[in-house]
């Protein structure tokens, strides 16, 4: 493991970006496959094969392209570009703040894509996505601030090199980040705008008017985003790569478990609970950290 880390650190920034761009879809797709299989098993079903998400994307690429507004696919393309840009920055060891802002910009383009078409379902999904974004964004920023307080740097490369375990300084922030991770992974109880498991309901929302290749791009973007988010979980345990990788995987499994056990919240509860959790866990952690120094 240590040799892998050393090899990775010896790569130049561009090479690291390339590694992320090539490997992330495979890891993300595999994680999505594990998600579907495990969800099915938890529901007492046999479930699709592990490679099912790849089959879905390959099939969607072969479908006919239907466009109702010529800007809709442009927005989806920007969503894709900015998501992989932020992922590439993160895995190249660049600034954590820039990564977060770029990810927020990608989310904004997803909302614009939802609003650019005529369907009321899509509009409802986009409105819910706005609420979700407002709910999770403070905690993501607090995560970066907390890490800066401990290490004195926003650079991901420095955060990974930090020898002491970040989790001991930032337990509240980690708990808050876990809470909003459920929103980012689009899992129940917070899968209001674009659920993965419900296909019948209004919650398919934002993707209503996207079919074929555009839907495939949305799916692949989601894989990239998942890998990036698990990378952020990794940072909390970066003092030991094995523990960090294990915790990242366990976090993903934990989110699936939460997904299976909760009914969907209303948007009011989603918003209020995530801000409350951010205030209690995140801000209090930062205040305590401030007095400790």
């Amino acid at each position: 493991m240590n040799t892998i880390c050393e090899v990775y650190q010896s790569l130049s920034i561009l090479e690291r970006m390339l590694v992320f761009l090539v490997l992330a879809p495979f890891v993300g797709g595999l994680l999505a496959g594990i998600d579907r299989k495990l969800s099915a098993r938890l529901q007492g079903r046999y479930g699709p094969p592990l490679r099912q998400p790849f089959f879905d994307v390959l099939k969607l690429l072969q479908k006919e392209r239907i466009v109702v507004n010529k800007f809709q696919n442009f927005n989806i393309l920007l969503l894709f570009v900015f998501t992989i840009f932020s992922g590439a920055l993160f895995f190249a060891g660049a600034d954590l703040l820039l990564t977060i802002f770029s990810l927020a910009l990608a989310g904004t383009f997803f909302i614009l894509a939802g609003f650019s078409v005529g369907s009321p379902y899509s509009h409802l999904g986009a409105e819910r996505e706005v609420i979700q974004m407002v709910s999770y964004e403070p905690m993501v920023i607090l995560m970066a601030i907390g890490m800066y307080q401990v290490t004195g740097s926003f650079k991901v490369a420095d955060l990974v090199q930090f020898q002491k375990p970040l989790i001991l300084y930032l337990p509240g922030i980690f708990a808050g980040f876990l809470y909003i991770l459920t929103i980012k992974f689009r899992k129940s109880p917070f899968d209001l705008s674009m659920s993965h498991h419900a296909h019948q309901e209004i919650v398919r929302g934002i993707t209503t008017e996207f079919s074929g290749p555009a839907l495939a791009v949305i799916e692949v973007t989601h894989w990239y985003e998942n890998v990036l988010l698990l990378g952020m979980v990794y940072l909390f345990f970066a003092f030991n790569p094995w523990i960090a990788l294990g915790v990242s995987l366990v976090t993903f499994l934990f989110e699936i478990f939460i997904d299976m056990n909760y009914a969907r919240f209303k948007w009011q509860l989603t918003f209020a609970s995530s801000w409350l959790f951010t205030a209690v866990a995140g801000i209090s952690n930062i205040i305590v950290l401030n007095f400790m120094k």
């Binding site: 529901q43 699709p48 099912q52 099939k59 072969q62 006919e64 296909h199 019948q200 996207f210 074929g212």
Partner: protein, 149 residues
């Protein structure tokens, strides 16, 4: 090669059925039969769907919806008529408002008989529809290659 066989997404529409066949369609999603192990997903959105599962005898009211749903599905697409009503209108075929079968209005590819159709036969029909999807995709590709210089 097409990937439709591995991930056919199904749209289900009740065109004035008695709800018997519809219940059986939903039953095939339950843990006992679990359609998802073939990668089949029951979507509620015609723009995501590959296969249209239509049940019922189709009357003057539902025919418009059925046609709209079909038109909104991206190519290649396949229609499966589930149950005797969707095939011929069954006992309702002489009613004044009934058209008598899905194939009176749309090109049906697979017929699944039964009143109500059994979940096993519905799954069989969908798997058969996957082969037709592959054929249609190959055909589309061929005509597309011919029209493009």
């Amino acid at each position: 090669m097409g990937w439709f066989k591995r991930s056919p997404w199904v749209l289900h529409y009740n065109a004035t059925s008695c709800n018997g066949c519809d219940t059986e369609v939903i039953v095939s999603l339950t843990p006992l039969y679990d359609l998802e192990r073939f990668g089949i997903i029951n979507t509620g959105n015609p723009k995501h769907a590959d296969i249209l599962l239509a049940t019922g005898s189709v009357n003057d009211k539902s025919v418009q919806v059925l046609k709209t749903l079909y038109e909104q599905m991206p190519n290649p697409k396949v229609i499966v008529a589930v149950g005797l009503c969707a095939i011929s209108g069954c006992v309702f075929q002489d009613c004044y408002n009934v058209l008598g079968g899905v194939d009176k209005v749309l090109p049906v590819d697979v017929y699944v008989p039964g009143c109500a159709a059994r979940p096993e036969s519905i799954i069989d029909g969908v798997i058969k529809a996957c082969d037709i999807l592959e054929e249609k995709y190959a055909q589309r590709k061929k005509t597309y290659a011919r029209t493009q210089p």
